[in-house]
């Protein structure tokens, strides 16, 4: 059988305009005629990507930010054309790069179901047929004839996802959209995705959530800076990803983007994760030990250093500051190494590790996404469906069950 998707040497070139915005004005055009064209930088978002997808196969595309994942999805969805190369598809592609595309705040829930469904490529009779199912799935039946602007954001997301979940294309392209709503709804969505996948349809998923990709996809594609690093078994793709996201436990933070006042008096130099299993993987419930090295160039009043873990949706889940052990400490000139041991107590998933420091008057430095930390489900001998806990926190609980 021929592959359902055949991606042949696809490349995408972007031109970066260093001055101003990517679109032009006539003035720029006219003045541009007299200037050297040195302001345009060429950037290959994708370079020579080739792989095939068999019918019924689910593949996960992973990689760091800027690896070209979203560009690849946009090309697959026909939103933007490849610069060179081509893709042969043998089935209807529906893409879901965002939930609620085309939702309009002034329209009612009912009207938005039709609008959104139609934009996603459903025919009117298809929507008619599935209408009750969609409403049922979203749980918004009481508000159906109310304008969308009166919905809570959670309700809007549920409605949007409910429509999307009832698409029935041969190939479904998804961009991290599983991450909507509350935990219960997320599980429902995830279940739906698993049904679609086991129903013989092809899913292409981009996600930062390794636990999720691992559960849904057998095959993985690893991208790094626009190039194809690996295609094959999902497990190998993930370990490839983790290897290349942090090559050793010493994370060099000098090249990372910083926020805050960027004071010349202070800088964070390196960060180490001490007790990781294999490359920034920690078991759920385990201790996490971090070392932060920083240098103070001029005395700082009431220096506080700390780190935080943000989850997939950007929520600050854990934040630890040195004030936990030192009420106050003078930031005299010198180099320091701070070590912290912590039981993060969060359930399995992928988290971003951020570090920062502040004085009594200002945010000295904040480095977001220093690394992504994978917290693995602890009870690995359990069945697949039972592995991940649905809660945000992972708490120790003792059970005692007797027959009465």
């Amino acid at each position: 059988m021929k592959p359902i998707l055949d991606i042949q040497q696809v490349s995408k070139l972007f031109q970066l305009y260093h001055k101003g915005l990517p679109y032009l004005s006539f003035r720029d055009r006219i003045t541009g005629m007299f200037k050297k064209r040195d302001e345009v930088e060429e950037f290959w978002a994708l370079k020579d990507i080739s792989f095939t997808v068999e019918p019924g196969e689910s593949i996960g595309i992973i990689g760091r930010n800027g690896a070209g994942k979203s560009t690849l999805l946009k090309i697959l969805s026909k939103i933007t054309p490849p610069t060179t190369g081509r893709i042969v598809s043998r089935g209807r592609i529906a893409s879901l790069l965002e939930v609620g595309t085309g939702f309009h705040q002034e329209l009612t829930g009912r009207e938005n179901i039709y609008m959104n469904g139609s934009i996603l490529g459903m025919r009117k009779w298809e929507i008619d047929k599935k209408f009750d199912e969609i409403v049922d799935f979203s749980g918004t039946d009481k508000f159906l004839d109310m304008a969308l602007k009166h919905y809570s954001s959670g309700m809007q997301l549920r409605l949007a996802f409910a429509v999307a979940a009832h698409l029935e294309p041969e190939i479904l392209v998804l961009d991290e959209v599983l991450a909507v709503g509350d935990v219960a709804f997320q599980r429902k969505c995830f279940q739906k995705m698993e049904d679609i996948s086991s129903g013989g349809r092809t899913i292409i998923l981009v996600s930062h959530n390794m636990t999720q990709v691992k559960q849904l996809c057998k095959k993985g594609v690893l991208l790094d800076q626009g190039k194809l690093q690996f295609v094959g078994n999902m497990h190998d793709a993930i370990s490839g990803y983790l290897n290349n996201s942090v090559r050793n436990n010493n994370i060099d933070v000098s090249s990372l983007g910083r926020m805050g006042t960027k004071s010349p008096d202070f800088t964070i130099q390196t960060m180490r994760v001490l007790n990781v299993k294999e490359d920034l993987q920690v078991l759920e419930g385990d201790k996490l030990s971090l070392e932060i090295e920083y240098e103070v160039f001029a005395p700082i009043n009431e220096l506080v250093v700390g780190f935080s873990l943000t989850d997939f949706y950007g929520n600050n889940v854990v934040e630890c500051r040195s004030t936990a052990s030192y009420k106050k400490f003078e930031g005299a000139v010198g180099r320091y190494r701070a070590r912290v041991d912590v039981f993060p107590g969060v359930s399995s998933g992928t988290y971003n590790l951020n570090v920062g420091a502040r004085s009594d008057v200002s945010h000295l430095e904040f480095i977001p996404s220093v690394a992504s930390l994978d917290i693995l489900p602890a009870v690995s001998e359990l069945e697949e469906w039972n592995k991940s806990s649905a809660g945000i926190l992972s708490v120790k609980s003792d059970w005692d069950i007797k027959k009465i």
Binding site: S25, I79, P82, I119, G121
Partner: protein, 280 residues
């Protein structure tokens, strides 16, 4: 072994020819976009669709008050009251101007959708025409009412010939200019300011409030005929004015220019549409 699906190829070469069978398969989207825009347009307005009638009627009253006597239309077309004269121009003009205005900005207002999902992009500017078309039909009913009120003598034979021709010019010209401006506005944001200004100028070079015949120099008329609205409005009035001579050269110039507008407009749109998502 299941039957092999039709192969679709995604590549860098883009056709500038409209893919009509693809557009046909997306026909419902035309409907839904139009339906959305019409609904949203009149939500939370007390008078709702009455605005569609009220706007041209008020304009007609104001124009009649200020220009009616000065222009003395009666001289060129006896028996045609100025309000009817100006309404027959405004009816078409409003369709053109509201289409061009909303189509011109349509790619930008729909940018969030364009960046996230594929569909033939031309649906968006065409939807602007369809929405204006709904208004046109409502205003047309009011127009017929005005015709009856003034008891205007209409040449029905001329009507059967000239109204369809007029509407065809109107649609071709509007479609061409709308697509062209919609595409230009994505690339050059200057057009956000150019469009309203241009429409204002265009109102005065189109024979909306004055009859084309007040310009006596022939060549000026020929230049003005390059404006597709010139022909559309002129032909629309023929059954009312009872003009018995049609300038063949004028007609030819307008036909060629509307055809060129629609071909160039769609050509430019198709040529640039692939990159809308990158720069919108």
């Amino acid at each position: 072994m299941q039957a092999q699906q039709k192969e679709n190829i995604i590549s860098s070469d883009r056709s500038v020819i409209l893919n009509l069978s693809e557009l046909w398969s997306y026909r419902e989207l035309f409907y839904f976009f139009t339906w959305r825009d019409v609904k949203v347009k009149y939500k939370q307005t007390t008078l709702g669709v009455i605005w569609v009638v009220l706007q041209p009627i008020l304009t007609v009253i104001i124009f009649s008050f200020f220009f009616g006597r000065a222009l003395n239309v009666e001289k060129t077309s006896p028996g045609l009251p100025y309000p009817v004269f100006v309404f027959s121009g405004l009816l078409l003009w409003n369709f053109f101007s509201s289409s061009v205005n909303s189509a011109g900005n349509s790619m930008l207002t729909n940018a969030p959708i364009i960046k996230k999902i594929y569909f033939p992009r031309i649906i968006i500017p065409v939807t602007a025409l369809l929405v204006s078309g709904v208004d046109f039909i409502v205003a047309f009913v009011a127009y017929v009412g005005v015709l009856i009120y003034y008891n205007v003598h209409i040449d029905f034979m001329a009507l059967l010939i000239f109204w369809p021709i007029s509407i065809m010019f109107l649609l071709l010209g509007t479609l061409g200019i709308s697509c062209w401006l919609a595409a230009l506005n994505v690339k050059y944001r200057d057009f956000r300011y150019v469009i309203p200004f241009g429409l204002q100028i265009a109102l005065f070079v189109s024979p909306v409030i004055y009859p084309a015949s007040i310009i006596s120099e022939r060549w000026v008329n020929y230049v003005l005929a390059l404006n597709p609205m010139y022909a559309a409005i002129n032909f629309f009035r023929v059954p009312l004015t009872g003009a018995n001579s049609i300038d063949i050269v004028l007609m030819l110039i307008s036909s060629v220019s509307s055809t060129l507008f629609v071909l160039l407009g769609i050509y430019y749109f198709k040529r640039t549409e692939a990159f809308f998502a990158d720069i919108a």
